[in-house]
C-alpha cells in the first residue's frame, strides 16, 4: 500500500514539474498575439556572457502578462521609445500589475525620460536615481505609482506640452521657466497646485469628498505667511509634505502624510537646526529643534511609532496641517479635549479652571507638558517626590492645608484600589488553576479595572466629593470580591474533604479485597 502511495506521489509531483520550469520567452503560447521580431530581439538580446541581458525573473514576469499588455509593450518598442534591453529590463523589474504597465507603455514622457540612451542626469527617471546621478524625485518606481498619474494627470498636466504629439515643451504660465528662479523662490508652488485643488468644480470630477480650501488655509498658516509674505523658501509648501512624483493619498502607508510618517515629514525641517536657524518663537527665544526627539519618547509617540496606533495624536492633530500654527495658550486645552473629553469636562468644573484662566496658564500643558507628554502614573498625584501638584502649590497655595490633604487622599485611594485589583487578579488566577468557578470574580475585576481608570480621571475634578463617586463603588466591588473569593476557597475545602471521604471508602474496600486475597492464598 505504501509503495503504491510512493509511486503515485512520484508521478503526481514530477509530471507538473516538467511543464513549469521553462522561463524562456514564449512567442505564441497558444494565444492570438505573436511577439514581433524587434521586441523578441530586445527580450532575448544576449549579454557579454551569452546569457540574455533581461533576467529570468523579468522574462518570467513578461511571459505571464496578458496579451494586451504585451501588445502595448510591442508598440512602445516599435515607436522606438524603448530601444535597449537594459531599459526594458528596468521597466519589467518593477513587477507592475498589468494595467499599470499598460499605462506606462502609453506614457511617452516617462518612457523617453527613463531611457538612458536619450536622457541623463537631472531629466532621467531611474529605479536607482542617486546611482545614475538624478535627483531623488526622479524615481521610476515612485512615479508609476503616483496618485495623480492613476487619475489621468500625466507629466503634461504640470509640465505642459502634449505627450501624444511632438516633442515641444509648452510650460503653463504659472510655471517659472527659469530653473534658478523656480527653485529659489518657491512661493509659486501653492498657487500652482491650487489651480486644480482650489477649484471645487474641477476637483469634484475626481474626488467629490476632497476639500478645496487648502490654499486659503495655507495662506493663514505660519508656513504660508513665511513663504508668501516674507518669501522665505525654507517654509514648507505643498511639495514639502506631499512629495512630487510619488504622491499618495493620506490613507496610504506609503504617503508622507500617513499618520505614522508625519513625525518624520515635519521633523525633516523642524528637527534640523540648519533650516530652523534664525527663526524665533513668539517670546523671542530661538525656535527649538528637539520636538521630534521628545515626541518619539512621549506617550503619544510610543503609541504611534511602537504600537502602530494611528489614532494617537501626531503633529498635525494639535498644530493643524494646511493651516498649521502653534496652538495658543487658550486653545491648547481645547485641542487635548478632542480626545481626552472626560478629563477636560472635570477640569472645567473644578476650582483650578478659574485660577488657570486668570493667570493665563495652559490647562493640560501646565502639568503634562507638550511634545514630551509622558505616560501618567499614580505617583504624579499626591504629595510624593514625583507629584505634579507640589511645585505650584508650594508657591501659590501654601496656606491652604486642604490641598495637600486632598492630593494625598487621591493618591492613597487610587493606590489602594489598584493594589486590590492586582491582588485579586492573582488570587482569581490561583482559584481558577484549582478548577474553581471564578466567572463572577472576573466580572467584578473588570468593573474594578474600569473604576480605577475612572478614579485616575476623576483626579481632574480636584474635589474629594466628586472623586468619591468612583471611589465608593470601587471599595464596594473589593468587598464583594472578598466574599466571592472566600466562597470559592470554602468550595475547594469541601472538595478536598469529599475526596478524603472517598479515599477512605474506596481504600477500605481495597483493603478488604487485599486481606481476602491474602487469606485465600495463605498456604494451608
Amino acid at each position: 500500500m505504501s509503495m503504491l502511495y510512493a509511486a503515485l506521489a512520484l508521478v503526481l509531483t514530477l509530471v507538473p514539474r516538467a511543464w513549469g520550469t521553462d522561463i524562456g520567452i514564449d512567442t505564441a503560447r497558444g494565444e492570438s498575439f505573436v511577439l514581433p521580431p524587434d521586441l523578441l530581439e530586445i527580450l532575448n538580446a544576449p549579454g557579454d556572457d551569452g546569457a540574455p541581458i533581461i533576467g529570468a525573473e523579468e522574462r518570467g514576469y513578461f511571459n505571464a502578462l496578458p496579451d494586451h499588455a504585451k501588445r502595448q509593450t510591442a508598440e512602445a518598442v516599435s515607436r522606438e521609445l524603448i530601444t535597449t534591453p537594459q531599459h526594458l529590463g528596468e521597466i519589467l523589474s518593477l513587477g507592475l500589475a498589468s494595467e499599470k504597465l499598460e499605462r506606462l507603455m502609453q506614457d511617452n514622457c516617462v518612457l523617453c525620460h527613463s531611457n538612458p540612451d536619450v536622457h541623463e542626469g537631472a531629466t532621467l527617471f531611474s529605479t536607482d536615481p542617486t546611482g545614475v546621478g538624478s535627483p531623488a524625485h526622479m524615481n521610476l518606481a515612485e512615479v508609476v505609482e503616483d496618485l495623480h498619474s492613476r487619475h489621468g494627470l500625466s507629466c503634461a498636466g504640470c509640465h505642459g506640452g502634449d505627450p501624444a504629439g511632438f516633442m515641444d515643451h509648452d510650460f503653463p504660465e504659472e510655471w517659472p521657466e527659469d530653473a534658478d528662479i523656480r527653485k529659489k523662490d518657491r512661493s509659486w508652488i501653492p498657487q500652482f497646485c491650487g489651480r486644480c485643488h482650489s477649484n471645487a468644480a474641477f476637483m469634484r470630477r475626481f474626488n467629490p469628498a476632497l476639500p478645496t480650501d487648502q490654499l486659503a488655509k495655507y495662506g493663514a498658516s505660519q508656513h504660508g505667511r513665511f513663504l508668501l509674505d516674507k518669501k522665505d523658501s525654507r517654509a514648507a509648501q505643498c511639495v514639502s509634505c506631499h512629495g512630487v512624483h510619488g504622491i499618495q493619498g493620506p490613507n496610504s502607508p506609503r504617503s508622507k502624510v500617513y499618520p505614522k510618517n508625519i513625525p518624520e515629514t515635519c521633523g525633516a525641517c523642524h528637527a534640523s537646526a540648519e533650516i530652523m536657524a534664525g527663526l524665533t518663537l513668539a517670546d523671542g527665544s530661538p525656535m527649538p529643534t528637539d520636538q521630534l526627539d521628545k515626541y518619539r519618547d512621549s506617550v503619544h509617540g510610543r503609541a504611534l511609532l511602537e504600537r502602530g496606533d494611528i489614532g494617537a495624536a501626531v503633529c498635525n492633530d494639535c498644530h493643524g496641517n494646511h493651516a498649521a500654527m502653534p496652538p495658543g495658550v487658550t486653545s491648547v486645552g481645547q485641542i487635548c479635549r478632542t480626545c481626552h473629553a472626560g478629563n477636560g469636562t472635570l477640569f472645567d468644573g473644578s476650582k483650578h479652571k478659574e485660577v488657570f484662566d486668570r493667570n493665563g496658564w495652559p490647562e493640560c500643558g501646565m502639568c503634562h507638558g507638550n511634545h514630551a507628554i509622558s505616560k501618567t502614573d499614580d505617583t504624579m498625584v499626591g504629595i510624593g517626590e514625583n507629584s505634579l501638584c507640589t511645585g505650584c502649590h508650594a508657591q501659590y497655595a501654601k496656606h491652604n492645608p486642604n490641598c495637600n490633604e486632598t492630593a494625598a487622599y487621591f493618591h492613597d485611594s487610587i493606590v489602594e484600589l489598584n493594589h486590590a485589583l492586582e491582588t485579586f487578579e492573582v488570587r482569581a488566577e490561583r482559584l481558577a488553576e484549582k478548577g474553581l468557578d471564578v466567572d463572577l470574580i472576573a466580572d467584578e475585576l473588570n468593573r474594578l479595572a474600569d473604576l480605577v481608570k475612572q478614579a485616575r480621571s476623576y483626579v481632574h475634578s480636584f474635589d474629594s466629593s466628586d472623586f468619591r463617586q468612583v471611589e465608593d463603588p470601587g471599595r464596594e466591588v473589593v468587598r464583594k470580591m472578598e466574599r466571592l473569593a472566600e466562597d470559592a476557597e470554602d468550595e475547594y475545602r469541601a472538595r478536598r474533604t469529599g475526596l478524603l471521604v472517598s479515599v477512605f471508602l474506596i481504600g477500605s474496600v481495597a483493603l478488604f479485597l487485599y486481606l481476602k486475597l491474602r487469606r485465600m492464598e495463605r498456604p494451608s
Binding site: G435, D437, R495, L499, A510, L513, L517
Partner: protein, 462 residues
C-alpha cells in the same frame, strides 16, 4: 462454590435454559500463566479496559449537558465545569482518564511486543488490539475539538491539514474530515458524531472480540515454554487483583481530578477551557497537538518542503505508514517468534521505536529553546539539549537491558541512539543523521534477518 447446590437454585434455572455450566467450568479452570517475566504486564489490558469504562460512564454524564453548536459547545462545557453539580469533577476525570487510558494502552501494546505475546496463534488478538489503538487515537483527536476552544480549534486545523499530504485522496480526505474546505462548526458536528457514536460502537464490538480471543486462548506463556511452569487461577485470585488495581486507578483519578484539574499543563497535556474558538482570528504560534501525536507533529517539522522529488510531508507520511505497517504485521514478520524462539530483532525494534518517539517528543516540547524562539540558533539548542537527555535515557535503558535482561542484539536501538547523537550532538540535520544511522543498521539487520529466516518447523509455538 457448591456446584451441586447452585444447580438446584438460580444457576440450575439458568442452566436448564442456557446451559451455562460449561462456561462456569471454563472460568473455574482458567489459569493465568506465571513464568519468567513479571506478572505486572498482564494487568495493563485490564487497566486500559477500566479507563475505557470510566470514559463511557463520564462521557454519558457529560452528554447530558454538552450541546454541540457554534453558540453552545464552548458555553455548555463552561456551564458543566462551573454550574452543574460535580460537573468539574466529571470533566476532569474524563480528561485524566483519557490520557491515562492511552498511556496504559501504549504500555500494554509495547509489553505485548516485548514479550512476543503476538506470536501464533494470537495474531488476530494483536491485530484487533492494533485497530483498537488506532480507534483510541481517533477518540483523542475527535474529543479534543469538542470544547470548541482556541487551542483545540487551531490544533485541529493543523492536525487535519496534515492528511492532505496523502497522495491522491489527501484533499478529498481533508474535506471529509473537516466537512468542507476549512475547520468550521460542521467539523465539530462530525467529530461529535465520531466521538460519541461511531467510535464507541466500533470499540464495543472490537473490545468484545479482543476479550473473546484472550479468554479463548488464555494469556500467552513465556517464550520458549510450551506451557507455563506455574499458573494462577483467573477466578477469583487474578480477578481480585484486577479489581484491586482498578480501585487504585479510581483513587488516582479522583486525587488527580481534585488537585490537578486541568492536567499537568505541559504542551499536549492540558485541558483548561480557555477562550472560545474564533475561526477568524489568526492562529498563534506554538500550537501543539496532544502528547501522543507530538512525535508525528515534530517529524513533519523535520522534513523540508521538498525531498527527492516528492513533497516533504508526503515522504513523512509514507515513512509513518511503513512503520505502522511493520508494527501491525509483526506477528507475520517475526519468524523467530513464530518458532517460539527469542526474537531479539523485534525486541530491539520496539526499543528503537521508543527511543525514536521519545526523542521527537522531547524536541516537540522545545526543551532547551533559547527564549522560546524557533530561529535556527534556538532549534539547534533544542536538538542539542534533547540529544543529551535522550542519550542519558538510552544509556540507562541499554544498561538495564544488557546487565539485567541479557539482551545482546542492539543494532536497531544503537542506530536510534546514533541518530540522536549525529543530529543532536554532532549537529547534522535530522534527516541526514537518520539516513546515516539507517544505512549503517541496514547491513547487520539484513544479515540477521537472512540467518533468522528458516523454514518454520512444526507450525509455530503452540
Amino acid at each position: 462454590m457448591n456446584t451441586a447446590g447452585s444447580c438446584r437454585g438460580r444457576q440450575g434455572w439458568l442452566d436448564r435454559r442456557y446451559d451455562i455450566t460449561p462456561l462456569i467450568e471454563f472460568l473455574r479452570h482458567k489459569e493465568v500463566p506465571l513464568g519468567a517475566h513479571s506478572m505486572v504486564w498482564y494487568y495493563l489490558g485490564g487497566t486500559t479496559l477500566f479507563f475505557f469504562s470510566v470514559q463511557i460512564a463520564t462521557g454519558i454524564l457529560l452528554l447530558m449537558y454538552y450541546q454541540p453548536g457554534e453558540a453552545t459547545a464552548h458555553e455548555s462545557i463552561r456551564y458543566i465545569t462551573t454550574k452543574v453539580p460535580f460537573g468539574w469533577l466529571i470533566r476532569s476525570v474524563h480528561c485524566w482518564s483519557a490520557h491515562l487510558m492511552i498511556l496504559s494502552l501504549l504500555v500494554h501494546m509495547f509489553s505485548t511486543m516485548m514479550l512476543k505475546a503476538y506470536r501464533p496463534p494470537r495474531e488476530l488478538t494483536w491485530i484487533s488490539g492494533f485497530v483498537l489503538f488506532a480507534l483510541t487515537l481517533g477518540f483523542g483527536f475527535s474529543g479534543y475539538l469538542l470544547p470548541w476552544n482556541e487551542l483545540a480549534f487551531f490544533a485541529t486545523v493543523v492536525g487535519t491539514d496534515s492528511v492532505k499530504s496523502l497522495p491522491l485522496i489527501g484533499h478529498w480526505l481533508l474535506e471529509v474530515l473537516r466537512g468542507g474546505q476549512d475547520v468550521t462548526i460542521n467539523t465539530l458536528y462530525r467529530f461529535f458524531a465520531l466521538h460519541v457514536v461511531i467510535l464507541p460502537m466500533s470499540c464495543f464490538g472490537l473490545i468484545g472480540l479482543h476479550l473473546l480471543f484472550v479468554q479463548r486462548q488464555g494469556m500467552a506463556a513465556p517464550v520458549g515454554a510450551d506451557h507455563a511452569p506455574r499458573g494462577m487461577k483467573f477466578f477469583p485470585n487474578f480477578a481480585i487483583r484486577d479489581l484491586l488495581l482498578w480501585l487504585i486507578c479510581l483513587l488516582a483519578l479522583l486525587v488527580l481530578a481534585v488537585f490537578v484539574p486541568y492536567g499537568p499543563t505541559i504542551p499536549g497535556m492540558e485541558w483548561e477551557l480557555g477562550q472560545k474558538a474564533n475561526p477568524l482570528a489568526p492562529a498563534y504560534p506554538g500550537i501543539k497537538p496532544e502528547w501522543y501525536f507530538l512525535w508525528i507533529y515534530q517529524l513533519l517539522k523535520e522534513f523540508p518542503p521538498h525531498l527527492v522529488g516528492l513533497e516533504g510531508p508526503q515522504v513523512c507520511i509514507l515513512l509513518v505508514s511503513v512503520l505502522m505497517a511493520v508494527w501491525a504485521l509483526t506477528p507475520w514478520l517475526d519468524r523467530e517468534a513464530q518458532r517460539n524462539q527469542d526474537s531479539p530483532v523485534f525486541t530491539d525494534f520496539g526499543v528503537a521505536l521508543i527511543f525514536f518517539f521519545t526523542f521527537l517528543m522531547l524536541k516537540a516540547w522545545d526543551i532547551g529553546a533559547l527564549g522560546g524562539g524557533q530561529d535556527p540558533a534556538s532549534l539547534r539548542a533544542i536538538a542539542w539539549t534533547c540529544g543529551w537527555w535522550m542519550l542519558a535515557i538510552a544509556v540507562v535503558v541499554t544498561a538495564v537491558r544488557v546487565l539485567f535482561l541479557g539482551d545482546r542484539w542492539l543494532v536497531l536501538s544503537a542506530a536510534a541512539v546514533l541518530h540522536v547523537v549525529l543530529h543532536g550532538i554532532v549537529g547534522l540535520s535530522y534527516l541526514s543523521a537518520g539516513a546515516i544511522a539507517a544505512g549503517l543498521a541496514a547491513l547487520p539487520l539484513a544479515a540477521r534477518l537472512k540467518s533468522g529466516v528458516q523454514p518454520v518447523v512444526g507450525g509455530g509455538a503452540r
